[in-house]
C-alpha cells in the first residue's frame, strides 16, 4: 500500500522533472545578453585540431582575449550567429583578440568548410573537435555556448544560447577588456 503510494509519488515527481526542463528549454528568451562573471573563473584545458589537422589548444592563445564559441553545423542558432562572430573577428581580431569557433561536427572539416563558403565567412578560421570532447571538458548542456577567456587563460564570462556578437554594446565591452588588460601590463 505505502509502496504503491510511494511509487505513485515517484511517478508524479518524475513527470514534474520531465516537464520542468522542458518548460525552461521552451520558454528561454532569445534576448539573453552576454555578461561577465563577478570574478574570473578557472577554465579547463580545451584542445582541438586546426583545419589542416595540426593539434592545437586554447593555451596557444595566451596573451590575448579569446572568444571561444562551441558550435555545430546542425545547430540552427549556431549557424545564425556565425556571421556576427565573423564580423567581430574582422573588427577586433589580431594580437589582442581572437574569435575561436570550435565545431563539434562529427562529419568533420568538410561540412564546416562548406558552411563557411555558403555563408560567406571570411575572417574566421576552422577549429574541429570531432569527438565532441569539449562538451564533457566544459560540461556543456547545449549549443551554442560561448566563453570569453582573458589573456591568462581564465574565464571572464559565458553565454548559453546565441547573441549578436558584433552589436555595439558587446564590441564596446570587448574593447574595454582589451584596454584594461593592456593598462595592467
Amino acid at each position: 500500500m505505502t509502496v504503491m503510494t510511494r511509487r505513485r509519488a515517484m511517478t508524479v515527481m518524475a513527470a514534474a522533472s520531465v516537464v520542468l526542463p522542458a518548460a525552461v528549454a521552451g520558454a528561454a528568451g532569445t534576448a539573453k545578453t552576454f555578461s561577465l562573471h563577478d570574478a574570473p573563473l578557472p577554465m579547463s584545458e580545451v584542445t582541438f585540431t586546426h583545419e589542416d589537422c595540426r593539434p592545437g589548444a586554447l593555451a596557444d592563445f595566451r596573451g590575448k582575449h579569446v572568444l571561444l564559441n562551441i558550435w555545430a553545423t546542425w545547430c540552427p542558432p549556431c549557424r545564425e550567429e556565425m556571421p556576427t562572430l565573423d564580423r567581430l573577428q574582422g573588427l577586433l581580431g589580431g594580437n589582442d583578440f581572437h574569435v575561436l569557433p570550435l565545431s563539434i561536427d562529427r562529419a568533420g572539416v568538410k561540412v564546416v568548410r562548406d558552411f563557411y563558403a555558403k555563408t560567406g565567412i571570411e575572417n574566421l578560421k576552422i577549429y574541429m573537435d570531432q569527438n565532441a570532447r569539449v562538451m564533457r571538458v566544459l560540461k556543456l548542456g547545449g549549443l551554442p555556448t560561448t566563453f570569453l577567456i582573458d589573456p591568462s587563460g581564465q574565464q571572464l564570462g559565458r553565454l548559453v544560447g546565441p547573441a549578436e556578437w558584433d552589436a555595439p554594446d558587446l564590441v564596446t565591452l570587448f574593447r574595454d577588456r582589451i584596454a584594461s588588460a593592456k593598462n595592467q601590463r
Partner: protein, 224 residues
Amino acid sequence: MSDSTSSAPKDSPRLRGVRWAAWGLVLITAMAVAGIVGWSTFKPEPPLPTARQLGQAMIKSQFTLTDHHGRNVTEQDFHGRWQLVFFGFTFCPDVCPTTLAVMAQVLDILGEDANKVAPMFITVDPERDTPEVLAEYVGAFHPDIVGLTGTPEQIKQAAKSFRVFYGKTERADAPGGYVMGHSGYMYLMTPDGSYDAVFSENLHPPEKIAAEIQRRLKNERIEK
C-alpha cells in the same frame, strides 16, 4: 461537556481497559507512521541508471512510425536489440540539445557491441521533421541512429507509451512561429521493449551510459 465525562464511572475496570487499548493503538499507529515516514525519507535512493522507480511498469516501447528512409516501422522491427531512445526535434531556436552527440559517443564507445543496440531519435515536431529532414539530421551524428517521425497522432501514441511529455509553444519570434518543449532524457529499453533505465545527458557522461549498457550485455551473455 465536562458534565458528561464526570458522570461516567471513572474507575470502571472495563473502561480503563478500553482506554489502555486506545492509547496503545495510538502509540502503535504513531510508531508505524514515524517508521514509514522515516523509511521513505532516509532510505538512500539508488543511482539513476539502476533506479527502477520511475513508474517503469507503465513505460513500454510501442509505436508505429516512419523512419528517415520513409519506411513504416514498429517496435517489432527493433525486437531483440536493446533500444536507446531519445525524443526531440531538429529545430532548436535558442539552445540545441547535444543529446544525439552523446548518443553517438555512446555508440562509438560500445564499438562492436553497438550492433546489439538500436539507437532511435523520435521527433516531437512531425510538422517540420519530415523523413528527409531527419535523414540529414541523424546523419550528422551517427550512421546507425534511426530518425523516426509520423502523423501527429502516431507521435502522440509513441510519446504516450514512453510517458514522454512534449508540447508546442506559440512564439512569434521563433522562426516558424513556435518552439517545442520536450523532455531531455534517453531511455534504455530491454530487447523485448520494456523499460530498463533512463539517462540524463547532464548526469551521465557517455562513458557511464556505455558502461551501463555493457554491463547488461555481459549479464545477458552469462544468462545464455
